[in-house]
Amino acid sequence: MTIGSLIRPTIVFAGLICAWQVVVMATAVPPYILPGPSSVASVFHERIDTLADNAGVTLIEILAGFAIGTIVGMASALIMTYFRPARLWLMPVLVVSQAVPVFALAPILTLWLGYGIESKIAMAVLIIYFPVTAAFYDGLRRTDPGWIDLARVMNASRSAELRHIRLPAALPALGSGLRVAAAVAPIGAVVGEWVGSSAGLGYLMLHANARVQIDLMFAALFTLAVMACVFYFAIDTIARRLTPWQTEISIEKEDP
């Protein structure tokens, strides 16, 4: 992390807000179509409690969905690696879980699990299950065969081989899966909220939209975007920490 890597996004962000302000002033677009940055900012100030409450609900959905999806995905990958029948039976489930659009499943999940956070967590779990499972499974299967030979000659038990060789070797792949999962988990939660809910940023956006409170809608959208970004970078940082030997290599290549 250099100062440059923080300054650049800040400049881009400030530039976009300026451009937004210019567009609003130049086109004299009515505020119920596109509110200016200043009116969105004042809504932030006035409705901070509403925004915070709903953001908290969405955040819980994202975190819970991410945690459950990661655990279930990792467990599936492990089982598929070690049990051939599980591989044959789970693979179609994995493919179907991606072939059916989550948007199409949302009403059913809401019907079964209700309007509370459960159906949104389920949505997030469904949407991240595939990237986590596929990435981790790939990582577990692509262990260098030389390492496995070495472990066999060293009389390692299968559990020791898993713990000391296969698992760490699969961590970079798992990290990629977790990054994708972190990026899409908010989609699952918000789609769930759109289909039917009484709280959350997705709910707040629909609600504000229906009442032509476009500035509040924008404020909710920004809150969601910031939350999703922070969540992504948090997971990205954790994934890097898990595989410090990888970071070392990439630094050498990136910045001479």
């Binding site: 030389g146 030979d149 070495l150 000659v153 060293m154 009389n155 038990s157 595989t243 290599i249």
Partner: protein, 256 residues
């Protein structure tokens, strides 16, 4: 030497009988026999694809698709008495050099302070004291291969199988590592597979050229004098000429 590792008492000789490997309906070798002398270096030379590595893996008990009996002259099982070193260093990138050196103990759940002290002593003999805490990515190719040699020695097993262990190194580093290996493995039963006639002549007690399809083993060439022999030794130079002629003939036979 006092490395905390009692040197293996009277390393056994190994006899391979009726080794056969069918690949694509062709016999790569058919009822091949190989005698590996106890407490000495036996070297296998031969063109690529002749089956040297397969033969070594058969002795190592790794899955090869080859069949055959592998017995030791003391009648005891070979399991847990073999240490294996490959062309790739097979260091785990997430472990430091010292942790890699004690990988066998790690995999068997028996890391102790004594083992770590023993590893430090061997690392010192291999000139790796300063590198003990580095990750493999921070080491040169020669350092990595020395670390792999230390890991192989740390197993403290009477039988050492080496599959082109030094072939990826530059000429000078290769000579240095041959010296270290000859010194530290003097009393072990070693089977070394190599492409390099000079390496074979420097280190081998018995050298066999493997050729043809199905492969046969040539009569043993036995260079005089203790290993590691000097590259400038005129007898070695003369033998190298003969050996190169044999290898050229072997390459022709095998390709035919």
């Amino acid at each position: 030497m006092n490395t905390g590792l009692s040197s293996a008492a009277a390393a056994p000789s190994i006899h391979v009988r009726d080794a056969s490997l069918v690949y694509d309906r062709t016999f790569l070798f058919d009822r091949l026999a190989l005698d590996i002398s106890g407490s000495a270096w036996t070297v296998l030379l031969g063109p690529s694809g002749v089956g040297k590595t397969t033969l070594l893996r058969l002795v190592a008990g790794l899955e090869t698709g080859a069949s055959g009996q592998v017995e030791s002259d003391d009648g005891a099982a070979l399991d847990r008495r073999i240490s294996y070193m490959a062309q790739q260093d097979l260091l785990l990138p997430w472990l430091s050099v010292r942790e890699n050196a004690t990988l066998g103990a790690r995999l068997r759940g028996s890391v102790s302070n004594e083992r770590i002290a023993a590893a430090d002593e061997l690392l010192a003999r291999a000139g790796l004291t300063a590198a003990a805490d580095l990750l493999p990515a921070a080491c040169s190719g020669g350092m990595r291969q020395r670390a792999a040699l230390v890991r192989t020695l740390m197993e403290n097993r009477p039988i050492i199988l080496m599959d082109e262990p030094f072939s990826a190194l530059d000429a000078i580093t290769r000579l240095q590592l041959q010296d270290i290996a000859a010194d530290l493995l003097a009393d072990r039963t070693v089977l070394l597979v190599t492409h390099d006639p000079l390496e074979a002549l420097r280190l081998g007690y018995r050298i066999h050229v493997m050729s043809g399809r199905p492969a046969r083993l040539g009569d043993a060439i036995a260079p005089v004098g203790p290993a590691p022999r000097q590259v400038t030794d005129p007898r070695l130079v003369k033998l190298q000429t003969e050996l190169l002629a044999q290898l050229a003939e072997a390459a022709r036979e095998t390709a035919a």
